[in-house]
Amino acid sequence: MSKKQIFKIIIFIVAVMWLIPHITYCIRTPSDAKDRFVGFYAEKKNTIDAVIIGSSPVPYCIATPRIYGDMGITMYPLSTNMQRPVAAKYLVEEALKTQDPDLFIFEMKMWQAEDEQLINADKDKHMGHTREVTDNMKYSLNRIRAINAMVDEDYADDAEDSENDEDDAENAESDDDGKVNEDMKRINFYFDIFKYHSNWKTLVMWSQLRTFFYEYPDDLKGFTSSDEVGPAEKENCHNATDVVKMPAEQEEYLADLISCLNKHNKDALFIITPFTVSEEEQKKINYIRDYVTERGYNFLDMNQHLDEIGFDEATDYKDGGTHTNIVGADKVTVWFEDYLSENYVKTGKLGKHDRRHGRNYNSWKKSYDLWMEELSLGEDKIRERIANGDYWKSEVNDENEEAE
């Protein structure tokens, strides 16, 4: 083979290898989480002051455009649904690749749940929640490490064995079971095109094509607005004062996260955003509170400050006590701004530069304007819903009603 021929082969392979990840980016399933991560990667280098890492309450609750407009602080959530705590460290590493934030904020709701419990819930969704983290990262070593930490193949093997046993016993078709098994294989995470190639139909959408480089600004800087109203149905047990140990594996992840923060010399704030907490959950949250404060970090349990926030559990939740609607988000954000101002801005830990000035932040200015628009529309809609008794209904309730 001549040198020219070798060169041609190499160029062809390199071109294919370069295109594969970018096409994968385009066909990853469209979602709020995808927009959020793509938006994060699109932020100019070292322009984010604080990164919030946590599960789904975060983007509904912390109105980052408002914080920018009110305080000149750029804050961005790297949150995903039911985010497993094991992901936090890798998201910190991911954020630090392009940003040098003064503060990491960790939303801790999921940390009181056992990882196995979260995985089992995820298995029913073909590991969709885990994938929201790994499949929204750009290709990198850190992504591989995140997959290795989050996807346990032995767990998959156990599941396969038991499913195979059942198959043998019932001599049943294993289509659906097969899917779950395949869903839990690391190889399908490393090369997520194996999963998402069937999204080829979406390649006609501009919203997909624009993610070719996995960078496209998010209009509301990671915030997700909701104008639904779902009053909290359960009793909020935030007053529980006892302490119950958090799950051992989550404690290990927390220790690991703290050493990661120390390694990078980064400050952190650990928070609980408003939700209807059970007594058992609150006891574990108390443990987490003690754990992080003993290590010199602040812990903010917003459930303890619902009155100060002015939070109305009858009108400010979107879905029965888990996520806030836009009115709830506004109340929480305004109060949170005061907290940040008192504990971080005044002490010089955050907001060293007012980002409201300068061309680099035009997209943030637009996001603030959009937020104000969304808030105004959202407030009207929520008032209308309350007046009409148009409340959110859980799927479980729907099913029960149908059954009746």
């Binding site: 295109l19 194996f194 190639h197 069937s198």
Partner: protein, 524 residues
Amino acid sequence: MLYERFFMGITSFYFLCFFALVLIAYYTIPLLFKKRGQWVVLLFASIIFYLFSVNGNYVQIVFPLAASFTTWGLLKLLAGTEEKELLKRRLILVAELVVLLGILIVFKFYKFITGGGIKPPTGLSFYTFILLGYFIEVYNGIGVRRDSLLETTLIGVFFPLVVQGPIIKTREHSGQLFEYHKADFKNLTFGAQRMLWGFFKMLVISQRLRTVVDKIYAIDAEYTGAYIWLGTVCFAFELYTNFSGGIDIVIGLSEMLGIILPENFTTPFFAKNISEYWRRWHATLGIWMKDNVFYPLLRTKMIMGLGKTLKKVFGKKKGKQLTTYVAMFILWFSVGLWHGGEATFVIGSGLLHWAYIVLGEVTLPFFTWIFEKKMHINLQSKFANGFRVVRTFFFVCIGDLFFRSKSIPHALGLLKRSVSTFNPQIFVDGSLLNLGLSIYEWGVLLVSLAVLITVSTIQYRMELSRDGKITGSRFEGYSNLREYIASKKLVVRWIVYFALFFTVLLLAEYGPGFNPADSIYDDF
């Protein structure tokens, strides 16, 4: 389990990784060992491949190894005999047949005989036929015996062939396994293109067709009329794209190793009669059967005796013809049995085709008289040839209907239901969307089939051009489509290659949410 994590079907990701490593080792190791050692890489790779493609039944490796060792040992014994020691030589031949065919019969035809079943070792009939063919060639003095046990083992387990063929004539092709092959640009690129085309056929077309076919052919399904014809045509294409796609991959990857294998499929659906169809479909099986079953059978005392008797009763010409039909019956019965120990295979891919050929020959004078003399149709016209192609395809489809059915009653039920209703409206009223494919999937399938048919047409025209049957074709002078594409400018070439690559990557059915692509012929 290790095998579950790294299972290597020929369309699996791990197989491609494995093959990439083999390719690197294959072309670099000889640089360290004075152009030697390539075949050792192949042997080593073949054993690893076999172990990872048997779904954890590692013990299955014993069978191809035992068959190879037996063949090697018996050939060694044979080499120690004199030409005149006929009895001894025949006994050795019988021993080879008993051991190799014995295992084949026990595993594959056990079901045919008893109705029960045991899963045969992967690639059983392929390596058995290759090794038997090799033995018989040496026995007949037309093949060269390999003195080395390991070399003989490589003939038996060479990884591209062991799963689904093609069934090589060792005297023509196995020599390449032991020669030194330098990395060659054309072999590497053309081989990769051929593999890609195989993936397109198997994963983009065949897998989608399978969804439709599985639905219509389900044992409890009650589809009628056009549904069954649609399902049957879909199955004909499913089987073709699955098997020939697998063979494309095998031939392509062998080409990348510098080893040129015989073609197994040459546009079979363009065949004008059943005999021609079998020269184009799974050709290496047909050749093997003719060489090792049909011709030896004609020389047996039993058939020769029968021939004499029949010639006496029916005259020389008809007697000879009838004798041939009897031998052909045994040949086609064997072909059917080879496909599996079930009556549906014996009929669908065996005896029905025998009947087609015999009836075709018997009725040829009558139909020629009708069409030419009475209806004044030019039997050499394009129309007549087109009709022959459609007719042959129709007959093949009927065979495939048996082949795909669960049982003979199931097949007969399908045939009965296929004419019980006249429902062509299903093609326009949206009914097809209930067969497991969305409108988009149907779109992909139809466009892909159009591409396949276009490529097949080009290949067929190239063949006609090579044979001098047509002139002035733009493809004249090219031995295959890849050569034609390679003659184009780089931009055009790369657009074609990239388009094919990303079509396969995006539109193929693989990964989570899809059934893994099995090769239908793996079990044969």
